[in-house]
């Protein structure tokens, strides 16, 4: 491992640095912008002084914390509901004899392939008829229909990796189908649950088109919509936008770090064979 030539090591470091810059660069740039006084923003290079004014102005005079709260509530509800449905569904598809399981999975995939723009008009009409326009509940329902197939596909893969014999052993040991799922398979599928939770949460947190279309009151907005509306007709408050972006990244970081610890590989090691 340490036997690489210095040149190869340098090359590797360079590649790692390049990849890191590509991923983290925009975030760093945003962070710097959020701390740069307005007069320096148009310039290239680092700012001469740092300021927290943008954070103050992003929060003051706008219901921004309320918006962050909306996003967290919507994303959490979507995540919980999607997983509560997708986990038992994936278990049943993989471990039980279900007729038409391939069709079900193919249909789920097809649904998640729909471009949102193609469904936005019919959904708008449907939500208006249901009286759910301009409500967070009205946003949660279409989000769940998109997140559910994603969660189902991720979890199906994870349940497939759990040996069938573990389910059968649980049945022999006296479990019903559901208690075998809850006591044996679900704990073993935790890495999959965590992965699906992170991805579902991020999807709902980032979604823009539906949120923009279905919500109209400023206090119902979610983060992407609220930030996009920071810009006025004649003003482009880049500093405020950057500050708001940084603030709204924090809940995502918390979610990712919380669930990432659950993503332990080889959790099923030792289950079968010698």
């Amino acid at each position: 491992m340490t036997s690489r030539s210095p040149l190869a090591r340098a090359g590797l470091m360079l590649a790692v640095f390049a990849a890191m810059s590509f991923c983290v660069g925009p975030f760093v740039f945003q962070a710097i912008t959020s701390l740069t006084p307005d007069r320096d923003i148009a310039r290239t290079g680092l700012p001469s002084t740092l300021t927290l004014d943008h954070y103050a102005s992003a929060l003051a005079g706008r219901p921004f914390m309320h918006v962050v709260q909306n996003s967290i509530v919507v994303s959490s509800v979507v995540t919980v509901v999607s997983l509560a449905i997708a986990a038992p569904a994936a278990f049943a598809i993989v471990k039980l004899r279900v007729r038409g399981k391939r069709l079900l999975l193919a249909a789920a995939l097809a649904i998640s392939m729909f471009p949102p723009i193609a469904t936005v008009s019919p959904l708008y009409l449907a939500l208006r008829r249901a009286g759910l326009l301009d409500s967070l509940l009205g946003l949660t329902i279409p989000y769940t229909t998109f997140a559910l197939p994603l969660a189902l596909w991720i979890l199906t893969g994870f349940f497939q990796d759990i040996p069938d014999d573990l389910y059968l052993a649980a049945r022999i040991d006296g479990c019903s189908m559901f208690s075998a799922f809850r006591k044996v398979l679900l704990p073993l599928a935790m890495p999959g649950i965590a992965t699906a939770a992170i991805l579902t949460f991020i999807f709902a947190y980032n979604e823009f088109l539906y949120a923009l279309t279905f919500l109209s009151s400023p206090d119902k907005r979610t983060i992407p919509v609220a930030i996009s509306l920071f810009a006025g007709e004649h003003t482009e408050p880049w500093g405020d936008i950057a500050a708001a972006s940084i603030i709204s990244t924090l809940p995502l970081v918390v979610v990712a770090v919380t669930f990432q610890r659950k993503i332990v590989r080889a959790l099923t090691a030792g289950a079968v064979k010698g």
Binding site: P163, D165, L166, L168, A169, A170, R171, I172, D173, G174, C175, S176, S179, K183, V184, P187, L188, L267, T268, A269, G270, A271, V272, K273, G274
Partner: protein, 361 residues
Amino acid sequence: MRRDETLASVRLERLQKTFRGTRVLAGIDLTIEDGEFVTFVGPSGSGKSTLMNIMAGLEEPTHGRVWIDGTDVTNETPKNRGVAMVFQSYALYPHMTVRKNLAFPLEIAKMNAREIEARVVETANRLGIGALLERKPKELSGGQRQRVALGRALVRRPRLCLFDEPLSNLDAALRTQMRGELKKLHEDLKATFIYVTHDQAEAMTLSDRVVVLNAGVIEQVASPRDLYCNPKNLFVARFVGSPQINIATPETFGLCAPAEALSLAGQSVLAAVRPENVRALHHCPRPNAANAANAIEGRVYIVEPMGGETWVTIDMIGDVGTTRITARAEADFAARSGSRVWLDIDESRVLWFNAKTHERV
């Protein structure tokens, strides 16, 4: 509870199983008595694992019924059958310690915590895994995992315990040791043990009775000794015994088929003789006797010294081609490949089979 106190008998009635048009079991009828150790043996694809899963309640038969202790359990869940099972893969719960693995079936049965603890400790000590209770399965060796799997089945004090090739993932030495321990456990526990294996040596050493399965039908049910000495057909004769039984035309062995065998089989018979009833010799055994014809010769193919004796594989060159047979020789027997040897066959031990139907004559 009555269930814990009595042993279980099992009756299989005209069991059939079809998977997507393929018939895996084609009508199995069998009664297994209280406290018996019965082994199902057969090549892969013979339906033995399917049969076990049907008895356990993990699969439903396409036709036929399963009775345990006189109760029809065909449509019962595994839970209501009170059957324990040891899986080939062990199927230990990887997220639980050994203690939790052993306690799991008792917790599901809602037994009180003190009783669970007592049973877990008792079972663990019986199997020599008392010191491993706090470990996770991944921290155990193959042999230790096997014992935990066994413990999880026995901790319930089942009336009926099913074993699906439980030893096949162990190395040879450990397998032989565990085989002995299983037999001892059966004697101590006095439960009904049903065992599936493709290893005829396990079937022979462990069982009260062996059921030989082939392509979804029972070929023969008999005690190990009976199966070995009186196989009903060529399949059973070939399957049981190691090295395999020698099968050839009577002429190859220098034998004349008995008249009654010929009349029953319509002139066409095959002779089968176990390797231990064929002796390989360096010289013609009866050079001057009248029946010198049955002292026949062949060419050595390979010589395998086993320590206590030596197995010699010999090519018999006949009119219709070469037949390869295995013979027993003294421990110090040595010969080069290709050298001439003579065979001395114990005629009283020769089994006769109909060459067309493969049934015993």
